[in-house]
């Protein structure tokens, strides 16, 4: 039993200094600036200020309700002294009606301030949330490659939730606390200057105590939210990899890893909550102490006939009144800190550099022929070592280029550069003679359609997923595209046809079928430049043969970039670009390359030709 009772004191201490250093090491300067509490509060206030008029109304209502809260008891006193004592029931009735009116208005003003404040707070949260979301979309792809998705999601939900719950109540409370504080202070001064001074003695003590507490909680809240984010990230990742977890029977391993993260969250949460729980206790003790001191000093003063006993009694009441709003303020301050911890994590993302900041001179590209040129392009994902190095080649409008090479040679990287998911470190890419950096990204991508290596389908019906290629397409056009992509027949075999709802990861249909759908999606987009990155890798060859024709039709008149391993796709290309370790080693047509007897012909003979025994 004793052991159980001792448990709360055995939590691991969190070394704030160390954590701070670790944290600082991982963020760059621009972010550290945002980690400034004052700046964060200012930003939140900026959002609130958008609702200036409503907010002033709320504050007006707070003034009204604070006043009526004091005025009510005054009327009650009047009722007793002037009417009940004098037994004047006619006058009492009149007064009671007045009192009733005061009470009704009081309740109404309390209700209205809350009613409006909730509206304002939730609108603020909504604005912040959608702003965060829009901002995320402007961020470059590398940002997403480096982050855990669940961690980012935590910012949209858990952190915003923190801000939300604070805004709902804190603004009103802080304001009404300040009002009450000022009012009481005036009355107290009027009663006794000396005792007021003594009462005010608790203020420095309070400030000191609050500093001690908030210095810790401010950081602890941040750690707690960061830990929560990490936990969220871990859950999200394991859930999306559940198939692997199951087939590898690694549930226990995952659970124990989860435990570690969960423990970290618990420890940070424990200290954040415990220490912030000190605040009301601190206020209480200061309250009680001042009570004792006032009683003592008052007693001594009364003994010396400097004040009356009545004044002491009244004074103690007022001293209580004075400390209550102080107490509230201290509490609110702490909730505010937890909200700031949440808001900071949101703003952190908002200061991330956006991708969409197109260069000043970037222009719209209305018409496109489809001529593409890579000129001395080099690029690497990490700082050291080139992923692709000094790549140059030209593609004429309507041509099909096959990018061929061993895995990791940089084929997908070239596609990433062409679509400006990444920008080259040096060299340039030209489309119709325009540097692509001079073209607005949206405008550039509008002329392209992709069938990417990882087929990603959205939660929604098959029809919606195909229509994603062109939102304005009619049902008939969607079905037409599906037919061309040879997806129509399998779709019709599904019980609900085009209205079959796909799970988030496209579960329920096979990977090959997903590829067919993403081809249909690209078909519908009707682009000038077509990019097929392993578009048919999971499609069986018979089906592929069937859609091959559709693909040929699709590629006609468009510049196409094709990454494939199958020879029959490659050999039809007007131009084959051979990559190896990030270098362009050969270029030409199937025939010319074979004749040359270089890397391609070696590849051809070793990989496609040699294993084919003659039929029969």
């Amino acid at each position: 039993m004793f052991n159980k009772l001792a448990e709360p004191f055995r939590h691991q201490k969190i070394d704030l200094q160390q954590l701070e250093q670790a944290e600082d090491g991982s963020v760059d300067k621009a972010q550290r600036k945002a980690k400034n509490t004052r700046a964060t509060v200012k930003k939140i206030w900026g959002y609130l200020a958008a609702e200036k008029w409503k907010l002033s109304f709320v504050l007006l209502m707070v003034v009204v309700s604070s006043f009526l809260a004091l005025y009510g008891p005054y009327l009650v006193g009047m009722a007793i002294d002037d009417f009940i004592v004098t037994r004047n029931s006619g006058g009492l009735l009149r007064l009671l009606f007045g009192l009733g009116a005061v009470y009704v208005v009081h309740s109404l003003s309390v209700w209205l301030q809350n009613f409006w404040m909730i509206g304002i707070a939730q609108k603020t949260v909504y604005t912040m949330r959608t702003k965060l979301f829009r901002h995320l979309h402007k961020l470059p792809v590398p940002f997403f490659d480096k982050r855990q998705h669940g961690e980012l999601m935590s910012r949209v939900t858990n952190d915003m939730e923190n801000v939300s719950s604070t805004l709902n109540s804190s603004v009103i409370q802080i304001f009404s606390s300040i009002l009450t504080l000022i009012g009481t202070l005036i009355v107290m001064l009027w009663l006794s200057g000396l005792l007021t001074l003594i009462t005010l003695l608790i203020v420095p003590a309070m400030v000191f105590g609050m500093k001690w507490i908030t210095k810790r909680t401010g950081k602890l809240f941040k750690i707690q939210q960061a830990n929560l984010g990490q936990l969220n990230g871990y859950i999200q990742e394991t859930l999306s990899g559940q198939r692997i977890v199951k087939t590898f029977s690694q549930e226990q391993k995952v659970i124990s890893e989860f435990r570690v993260k969960n423990e970290q969250l618990r420890e940070a949460g424990f200290w954040a909550q415990t220490i912030s729980g000190f605040i009301p206790k601190l206020m209480n003790v200061l309250n009680n102490l001042s009570y004792a001191v006032i009683a003592c000093v008052g007693g001594v003063l009364a003994l010396n006939n400097m004040i009356t006993i009545g004044v002491i009694v009244i004074f103690i009441e007022y001293a209580r009144q004075f400390t209550r709003p102080l107490n509230d303020l201290a509490n609110q301050f702490n909730t505010l800190l937890s909200a700031i911890a949440g808001a900071e994590r949101v703003f952190d993302v908002l200061v991330e550099k956006v991708e969409m900041a197109d260069e000043e001179k970037a222009a719209e590209l209305e018409q496109l022929e489809g001529e593409v040129e890579f000129a001395g392009v080099s690029f690497s994902y990490e700082k050291d070592g080139d992923t692709v190095n000094d790549i140059s080649f030209r593609v004429l409008p309507g041509e099909t280029v096959a990018l061929v090479g061993p895995t990791g040679a940089g084929k997908t990287t070239l596609i990433n550069l062409l679509s400006r998911f990444y920008d080259p470190d040096c060299g340039s890419i030209f489309i119709d003679g325009h540097e692509i950096r001079d073209i607005k990204r949206e405008s550039l991508r509008r002329h392209m359609a992709f069938v990417l290596q990882d087929t990603f389908l959205f939660h929604g019906t098959i029809r919606e997923n195909i229509r994603y290629g062109r939102l304005t397409a009619s049902d008939a056009e969607v079905e037409e595209a599906a037919k061309t992509a040879n997806a129509h027949s399998f779709i019709m075999n599904l019980p609900r046809g085009y209205d079959t709802v796909l799970d988030q990861d496209g579960g329920g249909i096979s990977h090959g079928q997903k590829q067919l759908l993403s081809i249909a999606r690209a078909l519908l987009a009707d682009p000038k430049i077509l990019i097929l990155d392993e578009a048919t890798s999971s499609i069986d060859t018979v089906t592929e043969m069937k859609i091959q024709e559709a693909l040929v039709r699709l590629m006609k008149g468009r510049t196409s970039f094709v990454i494939a391993h199958r020879l029959n796709t490659i050999q039809k290309a007007e131009q084959i670009v051979i990559l190896r370790d990030g270098e362009l080693v050969e270029r030409g047509t199937h025939r010319s390359l074979l004749g040359k007897g270089g890397f391609y012909s070696e590849l051809y003979h070793s990989q496609w030709k040699r294993e084919v025994p003659l039929p029969g």
């Binding site: 009772l5 709360p8 004191f9 007793i80 009417f83 009940i84 004592v85 009735l93 009470y103 009081h106 809350n114 939730q122 979301f133 995320l136 979309h137 998705h149 999601m153 939900t157 936990l231 859930l239 977890v245 199951k246 590898f248 029977s249 690694q250 618990r266 909550q273 415990t274 729980g277 000190f278 209480n284 009680n288 009570y291 009683a295 007693g299 003994l303 990490e382 061993p406 895995t407 990791g408 679509s419 998911f421 991508r445 992709f450 990417l452 290596q453 990882d454 990603f456 399998f490 019980p495 988030q504 079928q513 890798s537 999971s538 069986d540 089906t543 391993h565 029959n568 990989q607 294993e611």
Partner: protein, 576 residues
Amino acid sequence: MKTVFSFLKPYFLCIAAALFFTLTELAVELFQPLLMAKMIDDGIMTGDLGAVLALGAAMVGMSLAAFASGLLNSFYSSHVSQNMGYDMRCQLFEKIQSFAFANFSRFPASSLITRMTNDVTQIQNTVFMSLRIMLRAPLLVLGSVVMAFIVNARLALILLAVVPVLFFILVWLMKRAGKLFRAVQEKLDAVNSVMQENLAGIRVIKAFLRRKHESDRFTKASKNLRNLTVSALRWTELAMPLVLLVMNGSIIVILWFGSFEVTGGSASVGEVVAIVNYTTRMTGAMSIFSMIIMAFSRARASSQRIADVFAEEISLRDGEESDSALMIQQGTIVFDSVSFQYPETEVPVLQNISFTAERGERVAVLGATGSGKSTLFQLLPRLYDVNGGKILIDDNDIRKMKLDVLRKQIGFVPQETMLFTGTVKDNIAWGNAKATMEEIVEAAVHAQIHDTVMAFPDQYDTLLGQKGVNLSGGQKQRLAIARALVRKPKILLLDDSTSALDVKTEQKLLAALKAYSCTTLMITQKMSTTMNADTILLLEEGRLLAKGSHKQLLQDCALYQKIYHSQFEEEDSYVQ
């Protein structure tokens, strides 16, 4: 709420301690006025300075004692709430890990995530708050009513009538708000889900320029969330003004009837004043009470959502007859007229499939897109159970084997590569936590990824991002293969796992696999791979169309010939 209480049980002692310290604090608070009165009577009135100072010291001592209990209460309360939250998350996670796939279709990942974080936090905060002020409010209300009765029973009856009415109103509000809060959490799920999808599909969204479209979706989801939150909160915030109105109303009634009592001589003015005072005090307590009740309504909604997860019945688990001694010794696989359809669908995916794969054999599975190849694979590690027929490994029905024993001896490489955040080494060792560095490197060498890894700046300690994006598709696939090989599996399942590999690398990989004495099933589209297999299974629309060696099939099976020619004939004719 039952769920919450069951989670609080282990902390019974600490809860008791927390409540004890709240009571101590409360007692001190109530004692202070008494000491004050004594000070006036015994000290000031008699002019005894010593008594004044002594009682003053007592007051100081007591406030310090209250402070100490307050701090202790903080420790206990937060210990209880944080541990409860911790336990809840752990158990939720464990429960979710035991989910079969059919269960997942009922709980989308985004919703499970909100439940484990947001909902738990909600409950955690309520518990913390309750432990600190729970006792105070009802005690204050009760105490005030009792005191009022002692002062003047007739006038106090008014209060006795009012309290139940208020209680009824609050409970009604709580029920109403509880429902709304449940809806709020569901909308939060929706926001989370759009967010998750957008993060996962960011390339597609950017590629198709659907920023606005997605933004509209998100705006809609978050607008829904906002509207519901606003209406839920507005309901709960109705409590406070209502409490004020009713309690203040009763003050008016007390004054009115009080005046008659005073006139009639059955009550003194002082008594009326006292009862009005107690009513004011109750108002304060009642508003705390309403705050608690509202927090409860929110916590209740969250706790229901958590209970839903716990209540979910696991659709696939070890049966009672499962024998933990059954291991895979040889790795002989027999499919005996297996049929299967996905739960809650009507279309059979596999029908009457029978074949045998002998120990160490290499079986290629071939078939059109959607013919049931991947489904066939999922049945072996029992991600789903068959609907008809049976699967035997070493002559034992796999349903008789323990799930984890079975799965631990199978190496599975899925079609869509999923790597985890961590280093290359971590990701390979994921397949076998006990693997030594030599074993990890060996697996990597066999999976043809070792050279690539060695070229990374940090080699095996290179960090991979979410889904391992900084690797190419083929590199990811080979890493996933290494992950499966490091288990030294008895059965290896390759689900089109070499699609992104060039043929040369693939051939090297297949040659390296010979070092493992495991039965290998591989789904493939490439003829070059099939030709190396001992047996080829050709599926068509869920049926086993043909099986046999490459030569046999080439002779007997029209579809196989067609596939063969689709891959090779064109270039033959081209070259000739």
